[in-house]
């Protein structure tokens, strides 16, 4: 090759200049086809955008920097995953019960990362401005990385523990996984601006701290270095996604006053949808971590009540208020995890993970963290269940539950002001009855009934004959769940037997 003459020495571009070249120089007005044909989805939701260039990624991340830092994150993560496998890291977790939280994570959360990848790839194609398009495309790649690294990390546990063998298949079929699945499909089937309000703002910015921060810190506390590493590797991207969420909301609000009521309605809807989904996280924190960092109620106070106050005060200058029913969520914080754990305890014979009754020591912790509710409402129930189990009659609810049409969770939530009475709400639409767990879920239905009358409710699907048969065994086979190993109580499970063998070996064979 001929040597090129050296280029004249140029001043290094600043961060702002580099970002401007990437996001302002690469977009153009199309001429072969009109812009509204090239970007067919940007106007039908009613959001008005006058100046796409007003949107800026405050991190000003350019592609070269993106690849450089993402590659560095991957190098660090895979070093940990490999050493975890080589050193039999699974032997150092506090207790095998903990692995059940990973089973729920792998089947419930990791497939959402993949759905998010698809969602952001889609909206990244459909925005007119190059700034948001590039941010969405980077996020699409991040989300794919999260799905892959989570599956890769947890594959190590799959070598030893049950219930981790077919998460993608289970996500599409298992009854409680219809909760996260339908949440994301609801968002992905909305328009691009609602999708961003749902996932980038309500979910990523307002709510996912509750999943990734205290729960991952809990993973570390319980000796699971592999999970905490993928958690924080993902969360380092998440901080960028959160910023995108806040920026896109401010961008829409600043573009046109007419956008404000549309966005408020979406914030109301997606706060409640996300909060209901996080019910699963509440039980992971209070019941599934053998060593606990903080209670669900404390996490809710720190990450929603305090952080949310600051956020919504900031947004009040645009006329945005706190999401509707946030006060109901705060009323529920002292009972949410106990109610959700009770639901799963009822139906563990049909789940891909084990449940158990807390030990006396754990109940003492729960009493201390929930002084107004635990001893009064839940301890008597748990003590009764513990006694039944001691008599060899572990309680399993033999009949399928009523589900909420919107969130699809069994209708186990109680009235906002009465923890002893189930909250029943219903609506008629075109001559048919629909049932909801809360005013929040009922409002969401009534705003878009045509969407939710299509809900694929697992209980009704079983009764319609669409899930492999009428017996629990048939349905579990259709779920790809192994009857007798993946399901039932932790007490007596193959997981427990294996764990106790390892502990016995450790005791007789100290390293």
């Amino acid at each position: 090759m001929n040597a090129m003459p050296p280029l004249p020495k140029q001043r290094k571009l600043s961060l702002k200049e580099r970002y401007a070249h990437l996001t302002r120089g690469l977009g153009w007005e199309t001429t072969y086809q009109p812009m509204d044909k090239v970007f067919p989805y940007v106007s039908y939701e009613g959001i008005k955008i006058h100046d796409w260039d007003a949107w800026e990624d405050p991190f000003r991340l350019t592609m070269d920097a993106y690849w450089k830092y993402q590659a560095e994150k991957e190098r660090k993560l895979y070093a940990v995953i490999e050493s975890f496998a080589q050193n039999n890291g699974h032997l150092n977790i506090t207790d095998a019960r903990y692995v059940n939280a990973l089973k729920l994570f792998l089947t419930g959360v990791s497939p959402l990362e993949y759905s998010a990848h698809r969602g952001y790839a889609h909206v990244g194609r459909h925005f007119v401005g190059a700034g948001p398009r590039i941010a969405c495309q980077m996020q699409a790649i991040d989300e794919l990385r999260h799905a892959q690294t989570q599956i890769h990390t947890m594959s190590h546990y799959n070598k030893f523990f049950d219930g981790l063998h077919d998460p993608r298949h289970m996500h599409d079929r298992v009854w409680y996984l219809s909760v996260p699945k339908s949440f994301f499909e609801d968002a992905c089937s909305a328009g691009p601006f609602e999708f961003l309000t749902a996932i980038s703002f309500s979910f990523e910015y307002v709510l996912t701290n509750l999943l990734f921060v205290p729960f991952m810190s809990g993973a570390a506390y319980n000796g699971d270095m592999a999970t905490v590493t993928f958690g924080f590797s993902a969360q380092s991207d998440e901080a960028r996604h959160m910023t995108l969420g806040l920026e896109i909301i401010k961008f829409m609000l600043e573009q046109d006053e007419a956008n404000v009521p549309i966005i408020q309605k979406w914030i109301d809807k997606w706060f409640w949808r996300g909060y209901r989904l996080l019910g699963l996280v509440s039980m992971m924190m209070d019941y599934m971590l053998p060593k606990r960092i903080m209670s669900w109620a404390e996490a809710w106070e720190m990450y929603f009540e305090q952080a949310g106050d600051a956020l919504f005060e900031d947004l009040s200058r645009y006329g945005i208020r706190k999401p509707k029913y946030h006060e109901v969520a705060s009323k529920e914080k002292h009972r949410l995890s106990h109610e959700v754990w009770s639901i799963f305890y009822n139906y563990t014979h049909a789940a891909a993970f084990h449940t158990w009754m807390p030990t006396e020591e754990e109940m003492t912790w729960l009493s201390a963290k929930y002084p107004d509710t635990f001893d009064k409402y839940y301890r008597p129930r748990f003590e009764c269940w513990t006694e039944m189990q001691a008599e060899g009659k572990r309680f399993y609810n033999p009949t399928l539950p009523q589900l909420c049409v919107t969130c699809q969770i069994p209708m186990g939530f109680t009235e906002p002001d009465d923890p002893t009475t189930i909250c029943f709400r219903s609506a008629d639409y075109k001559g048919e009855r629909y049932h909801f767990c809360s005013d929040g879920c009922k409002d969401i239905f009534q705003n878009e009934p045509e969407k939710y009358i299509q809900s694929w409710l697992p209980v009704h699907q079983i009764y319609q004959g669409n899930c492999g048969g009428a017996e629990v065994k048939d349905v579990l086979a259709w779920y790809h769940l192994n009857f007798g190993t993946d399901n039932f109580d932790y007490e007596g499970s193959p997981d427990q037997k294996l764990w106790e063998e390892w502990q016995a070996q450790k005791a007789t064979n100290p390293v």
Binding site: Y69, N209, F232, E238, I293, D309, A310, E313, D314, R317
Partner: protein
């Protein structure tokens, strides 16, 4: 009153970043948890490249923060020399 917040990993670099933040923001409150450190500060918090470089003993590109960040709360403003989190001053005045 509104607090901004940043959460960092408890790694070697993360620990040095926490020191730098505390040095530049005397009002910052630091909470330690397993594997992470959360820093809260009234209204605003800034990281300055110079302060970080003095602790790291090498050139530091503020975008390297991506490697240590876990979470944040507040509006972000970043350029070559500083990274700032802030809530809007005087909420109520709507931008044009």
């Amino acid at each position: 009153m509104s607090k901004v917040s940043i959460t960092l990993q408890n790694t070697d670099e993360g620990r040095l970043l926490v020191e730098a933040i505390v040095a530049d923001n005397p009002a910052a409150e630091v909470s330690w948890m397993p594997a992470l450190t959360k820093i809260d500060c009234e209204d605003r918090l800034s990281l300055r490249r110079e302060t970080i470089e003095a602790r790291f003993g090498r050139r530091y590109d503020l975008q390297e923060l991506q490697l240590s960040l876990i979470s944040l709360a507040g509006n972000v403003e970043e350029d070559d020399d500083s990274f700032t989190l802030a809530w809007a001053q005087g909420a109520g005045s709507r931008k044009a």
